[in-house]
């Protein structure tokens, strides 16, 4: 299996939001965004890919952090210093964002307490740094409950379930395999919109095909593999 990052429709939409926030035109109006969706839809992977291939910073999840710890983490990600005092952290962030406008991804934001989200809203207003909150379904209700944050969200995006087209594209790109329509439907139903079951199925399909020296996948083989998973 080839290891490739796939440009799905979700990823394209995610990227357009990030580009909009990074652009200086987003200085007019709020520059917060919210990306939600159940686990396994590729939110974190898309954020990491965007971070690695650009100037954005990714703050890894850690739900035991206090607001000052989050501030220090952002200051370190942007300016490579970790000042003790929050005021110094703010000035570091301010200086770094003034030098270069960089996007900040806050992953698993649904697990963060509301006071951290409020602090990030303040940070966004004070330093004009664009922030993207990434989280599961709980994030939507959490933000909706706080009017001050909700009204400042510029763009909202829901990672939609993966489509049959995405699965077909994945098999074509990573396994050089064109799946019959019924097998595609079967895998799509099994995945329930999640990438992880598709990946597990693809790994097992490739192993089975190698072991049996097959060139094409049949419905029976796919059924057997999915049943064993």
């Amino acid at each position: 299996m080839k290891h490739e990052f796939l440009e799905t429709a979700n990823v394209t939409r995610f990227r357009s939001i990030c580009l909009e926030l990074e652009d200086v035109t987003s200085l007019i109006g709020p520059s917060l965004a919210m990306v939600t969706g159940p686990a396994g839809r590729g939110k974190t992977e898309a954020a990491k890919h965007y971070t690695v291939n650009g100037t954005a910073v990714y703050i890894p999840p850690m739900n035991t952090r206090t607001p000052s710890m989050v501030l220090r983490e952002i200051a370190f990600a942007l300016g490579s210093v970790r000042p003790v005092r929050s005021e110094v952290c703010l000035s570091v962030i301010h200086d770094e964002i003034a030098k270069e406008r960089r996007l900040i991804f806050i992953d698993e934001a649904d697990l963060l307490p509301l006071r951290i989200l409020e602090m990030l809203r303040n940070l966004n207003e004070r330093c004009a740094c664009p922030i993207v909150f990434i989280g599961e379904e709980g994030l939507k209700s959490k933000i909706a409950a706080c009017r001050r944050i909700d009204s400042r969200i510029r763009r909202k995006m829901e990672f939609s379930p993966i489509s049959q087209q995405d699965i077909g594209f994945f098999f074509k790109r990573c396994l050089d395999l064109k799946l019959p329509a019924e097998v595609l439907t079967l895998i799509h139903r099994h995945s329930r919109g999640d990438w992880r079951p598709v990946l597990t199925t693809a790994i097992n399909i490739e192993r089975a095909m190698k072991a049996s020296n097959l060139k094409q996948i049949t419905m029976e083989l796919a059924n057997g593999i999915i049943e064993t998973i």
Partner: protein, 171 residues
């Protein structure tokens, strides 16, 4: 503007550096920023002959890489140069930086993860970088796992100290 230390015709002189510094220092309106080549040679005390030929070649290189632009001055029948302040050196080592950033963002990873995030297909090159990082104690192998295709295993590594790693490789 004359530099405090005039250019001397020794080998590896930093001629381009002196020229760049002089050209960058010209400020004001576009008319004031423009210069003729003889103004540059005079300001840097470059003697006529072989030395000036070297400076002329250097100026040609500046033009070819877009650092200096010119237009023909009909009145004086000479090229009128101006320094392009927006020019910047091509950033080298972009792929290497991507690899380091991917390692930092992932924390623990295998080579396939790095290839997926960075879109770099040359696994031998990634392996070479990883080997040197392991040798210097920045990465540590934590486990092994089956490759996705089923034959063989791949090693899983972790960044030993994330902060030090960032300070050393992502500044």
């Amino acid at each position: 503007m004359a530099l405090s230390k005039p250019y001397k015709g020794t080998s590896k002189t930093g001629l381009s550096f002196c020229m760049r510094k002089w050209m960058q220092a010209r400020s004001g309106s576009i008319g004031a920023r423009r210069f003729f080549s003889f103004e540059l040679y005079t300001a840097l005390n470059i003697p006529p002959g072989h030395e000036r030929e070297k400076a002329r070649n250097a100026l040609r290189d500046f033009v070819s890489r877009g650092e200096v632009t010119f237009r023909f001055n009909r009145k004086r029948k000479r090229r009128h140069f101006s320094y392009n302040h927006a020019w910047c050196k091509t950033q080298k080592g972009d792929f290497k930086r991507k690899i380091f950033k991917a390692m930092y963002v992932l924390g623990s990873f295998s080579m396939s993860d790095i290839r997926r995030l960075t879109n770099i297909n040359d696994r031998h090159w990634i392996a070479r970088i990883m080997r040197s990082l392991i040798k210097n104690g920045h990465l540590q192998q934590i486990s092994r796992r089956l490759c996705a295709h089923g034959s063989g295993v791949e090693k899983v590594y972790r960044v030993v100290h994330r902060d030090t790693f960032k300070l050393n490789f992502l500044q």
